[in-house]
Amino acid sequence: MNTPLLQQVLDRTTPVDDSPASHLEVNFGLLDEYSKREIRRAILTAVAVPGYQVPFGSREMPVARGWGSGGLQISLAIVGPYDVVKVIDQGDDEGVNAVNLRRLIVSSTGIPESTTPEDSTLIQTRHRIPEDPLDERHTLVLQVPVPEPLRGVERDMRELARMHAEADYARMWVSLYEDKVRNGVITRTTGYPCLVNGRYVIATTPIPRWDVPRLHRSRFLALFGAGREKRIYAVPPHTDVEPLTFEDVPFEVEVTPGASCRTCSSTESFLVEIPGATAGDGGHWVCSDSDWCRRNRERLQHPSRGDRS
């Protein structure tokens, strides 16, 4: 399956012509088996200690660091021949980097791809959790640019290690308090800090606050990979994920009153704005989860066909 793409991967990673090492055979999942084993061990540690950032010997991937190299390493380390992969960027299966990552996974494993969570087992994502409810069949792999939730309050990595070790999150609380006092609202946008399993504070990658509640006691396994920063962490199924906030300041997700998706009319999905050419020109909203939007639209147009596409 996908031989031309496999050839492209080989071309991209193996300089050919006159070099003596031009006879590379790509291993299943691209990485060598020792590397995959090492990454899997880090994942097991991460699952055993929810929210703890496990250091690992991050490999250089055929995608640049900062472009999903951590998520890609997790996906390639855990993917098996019976998996079906879905890759999204900003919720969109057709984002150019999602396309590139998906074809790297598919071409180095030969596994099928899908855009619907229902058909998928392995979902790699940047910045979103699919709108569909995920369950035990799914492993969600999140690409993490900055795994350290405390970096805004402390720069020294030695001190950061101490703070996590002692669960000393006082300065994080102070910064949230100051934020509220100065601005009237907590201004954290995406990657909202959350306490996992009552122990470690994590950065929820830059997923919007909209997606944060869906990590709480979820039925699926969520794995977070930060390739550049060489960290893997996890939220196992049925684990508490509580956004840090105060008793009298409710956690707020992104909502725009009156906004609905222009394509499927949804008011119950995460919407992104398509601006008009000028401020007075209106603009409109669409679902960021493009595949969910498509199925939602079909469901409304043809109610009898059910949910599947």
Binding site: A161, R228, S288
Partner: protein, 369 residues
């Protein structure tokens, strides 16, 4: 499934790839040969091997051609290629005294033990751009080649084969300083395994081997910049070292044969090696003696090895008081920095939507109060 292509993402990517592949080979000029790059763009190939952390001139040249001359991109190609291969063996420890020098200078003394061997350098040559037209430059080059052909001894001397070993493997200045009891002795006897930065993330506080390995693979410009920022002030105050040794030469690499168990020389690599003498003046230091910083990297790259040696001793003396070690370990890798910088080009409309929403929330609060 099948829905994927309808939106055009894949088609656009493939079109972009075709454009890159086409433009790389189109044009009037000949195919750019690896051998040509290895011989004529030696420093670029060396830099790619150093920053890629892989000694293979042919692969590095291929990577450089594929990357259209971008050394960081070429280093990325080398490293991600390396990720696909299992690690089968480790070399035996290399003794840098086995270095056969092609160039060696000792700025600390006028007449050090052993030669001042300028070798292949443009250090003392006016940087004058050759503005002759290409044909004349070519003719001149051919004449010179013919001349060298007739004077075999010169050619051999450049290769480093024609002279007795004691000149090509000179005693280190550091040995002399130790004889004179002029340097503190930080040599250790416990011989710990070196920290492998390709298998474990190096984080402060780190071992010296972790810092040295990180710098050996660092992006040259990044390392020079960390050095310069610390010399000039914004990030600290580094002592300027005195160079004890600047060497460029060939170093044999040996592995244990899996069947016979005997050491076998499998290759030699060219390296640049630097020893930097530091004037100790701290209240808690042995102010009657010097200390020494060390730098070594693949290929001929003196800027990098000198910055490395100075930062090595600066880090040692800093003893974790400042952010110097963290800067070295975390900010000097070319792939990390440029990859993360370039990721800003990826779509960010989900995060931006979330930011817009909070801006509106702040404005609404301001209007209501």
């Amino acid at each position: 499934m099948g829905y994927a292509a309808a939106r055009g993402g894949l088609k656009a990517i493939e079109a972009a790839e075709r454009l890159v592949a086409r433009e790389r080979v189109l044009g009037e000029s000949q195919w750019l040969e690896s051998k040509q790059m290895i011989e004529k763009l030696r420093l670029a190939v060396d830099r790619v091997m150093g920053e890629g952390g892989l000694w293979d001139e042919h692969l590095a040249a291929s990577a450089l051609r594929q990357a259209e001359g971008d050394p960081i991109e070429a280093a990325h190609l080398l490293r991600s290629y390396r990720s696909t291969l299992p690690r089968l063996a480790y070399t035996t420890p290399v003794d840098v005294d086995d270095l056969t020098v092609l160039r060696r200078i000792v700025p600390a003394f006028r007449n050090p033990p052993g030669p001042q061997l300028l070798g292949r350098t443009t250090d003392y040559t006016g940087r004058l751009l050759d503005t002759d037209d290409e044909t004349s430059q070519r003719t001149a080059a051919e004449k010179m080649a013919a001349f060298i052909e007739e004077n075999v001894t010169i050619s051999k001397a450049i290769d480093g084969d024609a002279e007795p070993t004691d000149i090509r493997q000179p005693r280190r200045l550091l040995d002399l300083l130790r004889d004179l009891d002029a340097v503190v002795d930080r040599r250790r006897t416990d011989d710990p395994e070196p920290f492998d930065i390709t298998r474990h993330p190096a984080r402060p506080p780190a071992t010296r081997s972790a810092r040295l390995a990180t710098m050996a693979r660092a992006e040259t410009g990044a390392l020079v910049n960390v050095w310069y920022r610390n010399i000039l002030g914004p990030d600290g105050y580094l002592h300027e070292i005195t160079l004890g040794e600047v060497r460029h030469g060939r170093l044999p690499v040996t592995v244990i044969h899996p069947l016979t168990g005997d050491p076998v020389s499998i290759s030699d690599v060219r390296v640049t090696e630097v020893e930097a003498i530091e004037d100790l003046n701290g209240i808690d230091e042995d102010r009657g003696r010097f200390d020494v910083g060390y730098g070594l990297c693949f290929g001929h790259n003196e800027k990098k090895a000198i910055a490395m040696a100075n930062l090595d001793i600066a880090c040692e003396r800093d003893k974790g008081r400042s952010f110097l070690e963290q800067s070295i370990l975390l900010t000097t890798d070319g792939l990390d920095a440029s990859g993360f910088l370039e990721h800003l080009k990826l779509p960010h409309y989900v995060t931006f939507r979330s930011m817009m929403e909070r801006k509106a929330a702040i404005r609404q609060f301001q209007e209501n109060t």
